[in-house]
Structure formats: structure tokens, C-alpha cells
């Protein structure tokens, strides 16, 4: 239960203070990827920040983007991930894994985790967007074949949901 204002609230203030402490790109990037793993995507560790995660993530991304601007030269900015890896190489590995994938749940994890780990500003947008398009295309292809073939009861089991009530 949140019980605080939507736009100006103590949770956002607390995170703004933490974000303000980030002084280096390395720390900023670690902070962002850790935040995404804990608080974003359907595979997140917990829903403690359910109401504010999107706003907070955006503020961390803003800070990391500024740190990137301060620390990277133009060539690095366009071609490298924040940790120094060649962005296209990283993207190619992810796309190759997806190309080889034939299971929709595995494909879903690949796509979600790629976004969690590399969504800009971690990876340059020019590389990320095209890789994301390729991953998304394959995921949709796998998901949409025989969409209605499985009975709902089996689909619930396959997704691994716990049934609270079914009327």
C-alpha cells in the first residue's frame, strides 16, 4: 500500500538523493543495471517500487546519460556499451542466440534480459534499437504460432501462475 502522492512523494525523493550521489559512469551503470534487475520487467525481484519504478528508472537513465557524455569520446559514444564492449558485437551475440532459439519462453527471457542489461544509455541507441527489433520480431513469431492451441488450464500451468481464484 503506497498511501502517498503520485507525483511528489518521499520514495522518489529518496531515490533522487541516491542518484545524486552517482559520480562516475561505472558506478552509474552498475546502479542502473542493478535497479532494473530488482525493480523492472515481469521477472523483477520484487514489486516494492511498483508505483514509482518507471519514474525512478528514467531519472537514473538521465544521470547515466550525462555521465556518459562527460566520460566518453564521440567514437565510444556511438560504438561502445558503457562497460567498454563493442556494442555491435554484443548485439550480434544476442541476435544469434535468438536466431537459434525455438522455445517461446526462452525467447521471452532473452528479449527481456537484453532490455534489462542493455537498454540505453547502457548500449548506444543506434545499435540497441535494431537489435531490439530483431529480437522482438523473432519473439513474436514464436509466440503467435498456434496461439489458441493450448487449453487455458494448461497455459496457466505452463506460465507458472498460482491460481488465487477462478469463477
Amino acid at each position: 500500500m503506497a498511501n502517498y502522492k503520485i507525483h511528489d512523494n518521499p520514495v522518489r525523493d529518496e531515490w533522487l538523493a541516491k542518484i545524486g550521489e552517482l559520480r562516475t559512469l561505472k558506478k552509474g551503470a552498475e546502479f542502473l543495471t542493478d535497479f532494473r534487475a530488482r525493480h523492472t520487467t515481469p521477472l523483477r525481484e520484487n514489486y516494492d517500487l511498483e508505483l514509482d519504478w518507471g519514474w525512478i528508472e528514467c531519472k537514473i537513465e538521465e544521470k547515466v546519460a550525462l555521465l556518459k557524455h562527460a566520460e566518453l569520446n564521440d567514437d565510444q559514444f556511438l560504438n561502445n556499451c558503457v562497460g567498454g564492449a563493442n556494442a555491435q558485437d554484443v548485439a550480434d551475440v544476442a541476435v544469434a542466440k535468438m536466431d537459434a532459439c525455438t522455445d517461446k519462453y526462452e525467447a521471452e527471457n532473452l528479449h527481456i534480459n537484453f532490455r534489462r542489461d542493455y537498454k540505453p544509455p547502457i548500449m548506444p541507441t543506434n545499435v540497441f534499437m535494431d537489435a531490439d527489433r530483431l529480437l522482438g520480431t523473432k519473439l513474436m513469431e514464436l509466440r503467435n504460432i498456434d496461439y489458441y492451441a493450448m487449453p487455458l488450464e494448461e497455459l496457466r500451468k505452463e506460465r507458472g501462475v498460482k491460481i488465487i481464484t477462478i469463477q
Binding site: A2, E50, L51, E108, G136, R156, I163
Partner: protein, 527 residues
Amino acid sequence: MAISAATKAATDALAVNRAPTSVNAQEVHRWLQSFTWDFDKNRTKYPTKYKMANDTKEQFKLIAKEYARMESVKDERQFGSLQDVLTRVDAGNKVHPKWNETMKIISNFLEVGEYNAIAATGMLWDSATSPEQKNGYLAQTLDEIRHTNQCGYVNYYFTKHGQDAAGHNDARRTRTIGPLWKGMKRVFSDGFISGDAVECSINLQLVGEACFTNPLIVAVTEWAAANGDEITPTVFLSIETDELRHMANGYQTVVSIANDEAASKYLNTDLNNAFWTQQKYFTPVLGMAFEYGSHFKVEPWVKTWNRWVYEDWGGIWIGRLGKYGVESPASLRDAKKDAYWAHHDLFLLAYALWPTGFFRLTLPTKEEMDWFEENYPGWYDHYGVIYEEWRARGCEDPNSGFIPLMWFIENNHPIYIDRVSQVPFCPSLCKGASTLRVHEYNGKKNTFSDDWGERMWLSEPERYECQNMFEQYAGRELSEVIAELHGVRSDGKTLIAQPHTDKDGKMWTLDDIKALNCVFSDPVDAL
């Protein structure tokens, strides 16, 4: 006077090969389409499971000059009517007060749809490879920009020339408070611009425009006119003249993928999901807006729905696409059941939650109740008796200390929000087909109201992460939420939303709401 040799040579040459003195627009269109590109290395920015053919035609074959000429004439007629004759005859004040409130919702929400359609058609322009098909999408992008402005202008006109401006004038910041907003975003925003580009076209053009613009943009003009509103038909019929082009674009999208092997694997699934997505919101919301947001009735929503959605669209329009492998959605039959009671169920909830609106709602009068019972036999025994009880308890009067939301709590009728459609439902009270199903996944509870939506979530859970109003406001007192989200009039204390449109009736204030001590809770916490 003697002419030079060069001039004579030119004159002689022209006598043999006469230069055109005019150029037919269709010739220009053909000439423009010859400027094609090498698509081998070209790619769209957007994901899609389909391959759009490189030689797809479009039906309107408009060039920008012809388009601009045509639209400027429409704008002159529309704005001329609005600013001259309709203002002089005081059209804004001749609108029935109930309908004035309804237009706060319809025009503002449609503005969102038009705005997102700009992006959607831009995406389709990027995704298509045929120059003609791109040209068709481009014309639609321009249309959608025009329509966004038109919808905004309707609310502006009502604000300036009509009655009770609050809600017309600031809907963009107050519309997010209540439960209708997020469902509208699901259909008008997510449905149009997220996921597969072709699936977005199916949502926007094949379902949203070919199926629901007749009930929405055409039917609304009939209801408006019947309720004294000459403003809405003036603008919305001008919008509708462009919609045929959009329906044609949807048709051509299907034609463009018809020869792609993928189409047979995915198309009918995407169509069914798109139809269910759109109808799950539009069927109850439009029916509610027309029948409960008007005083003078046109025809029962169930008849309008049956004619335009079930027969014209599900039968004739989709039937014409049958040769490309398109089938009527399997969910059409379930949607038809929803078209009878779903809007009645929704109004019960909308009225119960009236303080969260940016418009005024009214209970049906005795005369209107008779109309409901005559057209929906069994209506009175289920809904009419509840409205009579609420009225008897003084729900319109702030001195009563009663809002109908309290009745739901007293009678143990929890209200849930469907995670996929974001449409509220009350399984213990509804006469429609909604049934409660609640899952827990990765520590989070999700609520659904039907098989189709539940399957969509189980298949693609990351698409439906949106928090609902009970999750957002849980633990908060109602007047605090309204105040924070600007749901008050310019005096800073009177609510924009009211449970009546009586000019002599007392208006509810933040203090009246605060006195109720109504605190939000999320009903799934109790499960």
C-alpha cells in the same frame, strides 16, 4: 518583327511535340510512384512477423497538392460553420446538459486516439515497402494530425461557447483520475503503436477504424443532433470523410501480406486479439456514453452494435477479406453477448465512482428508465431498483453524506480492474459475461474478467504491466487524490465531477468528499 533562329527552332519543335498545358493529378501520382527505392538493404525500424509486398497498390492515389486542396475546403466549411452560424445561434447553450458532459469524454478521448494514430501511420509508412502503400499511409498521417486538432477544437468550442466549461477546458490533466482513462489508453494508444507493426494496423485500421468508427464517429453525430448538439456533427462528420481512406489502408495492409506465408500463421490470431482488445473497451464505453449520457434516445446500443459491428464488419467487411485468408474473429460471438449488458454494468460502476471523473453524470430519469426497460427487458429489476435506492438515499445531494461507492462496500460487491483491458468490473453484480479470475505471478496478483484477455496476458505478460487505480490509490483518502490530480473547479474546492447536471442542484466540494472518509483499498489484497 523578325524572330531569331533559336526561337524559330524552338517554336517549330513545340509544334511537333506539344508541351502539356495541364497535368492530371493521377498522372502525377503515377509519375511519383516511379521514384522507388532499392529495398534489398532497406529495413524498417519496427518489428513485424510479416513481409509487406513491394508492389501493393493504394486506392485513393492522392498527391499532396490535391489532398491539401480537398482538406482546406473541408476545414473552411467546418470552421466557418462553427465560428459564424453556430456561434450566432448560440449552439453551445442549446446542447442538452447531459450531452454536454458526454462530449467532455468523447472528444477528449478521441483526441488521444487520433494523436496515437499519427504515430501508428508513421510507423506503417516506415514498415511498408511499396511506394503506393507508403503514399496511402502518409495521407492518413496528415489526416490524423487534422483530426487531433479537430477533437481538441470541439472541447475548446464547448469551453468558449457552451455551458459548464469545467472538464472541457482541462481534460488533459484531469482525465487520468478515474477508471475510464487507462482502458482508453489500452485501445487508443498501446493497441495502435506497440508490438508488431502489422498488428498495429489491424488494431487501428482493420478494427478501430473499419469496425468502430461507424458506431463511434457516425452514431455519435446522431445522438448529438438528437440532444441539441450541432457542433459535434459539424466536426465529426468532417472527420468521418477521411475515415474511408483509413479503412482502405487497412484493407491494403492485408492485401500487402496476403502472399506472405506468415500471414496464414499469424493473421487471424492478430485479428482476434485486436478485435477483443478494441471491443472490450468500446462496446461498454460507447454504449454507456450514448444511452446514459443523453436525454433523447436514438436507438438501443445493442441494435447499433449488431448492425455495424456484427453484420457490417464481422460479416461483410471481413467477408470481403476472406479471399486473403481472413476469418471473422472467434471472439465475435462473445463480444455480441457483451453488447447487451456490458454498458449497463459499466455505468453502475462509473456512477459509483463519479467523484473521480472530469465530467458530470446523472441517474436515469423515470422516463429514461422506462426506455431502458422497454429496450432491455429485465433492466429495471437489476439496475433500476439500485438507482432508485441511491436516489432515495440522496446520492445527488452533498448533504446526504452518501456516494454510491459506499453502497458497493456495504453490500459486499468488490470492484476489480481487468489487467489486460483495464476495464472495471464487479463480478458479484454484473449481468454481462464477466467472471473473476485472479492469478499470482512472480509475487504479483493479476485480475482478469474473460478467457480472451486472460490468454493474452498469459502469452505476453510484459505488455500489460499498467497499475490500476486501486493499486495506485490504495490507502489514500478520496478527496486527497482528487485534489492532487486537479479534479476541482477554478474556486479550488468545488469538484469538476458531479452526480447530477441540475443547474439548481447543490455542487459537491472537496470538504463534502472528505467528510465521507472514503479510503481506497485494493480488493485483491483480501483474496
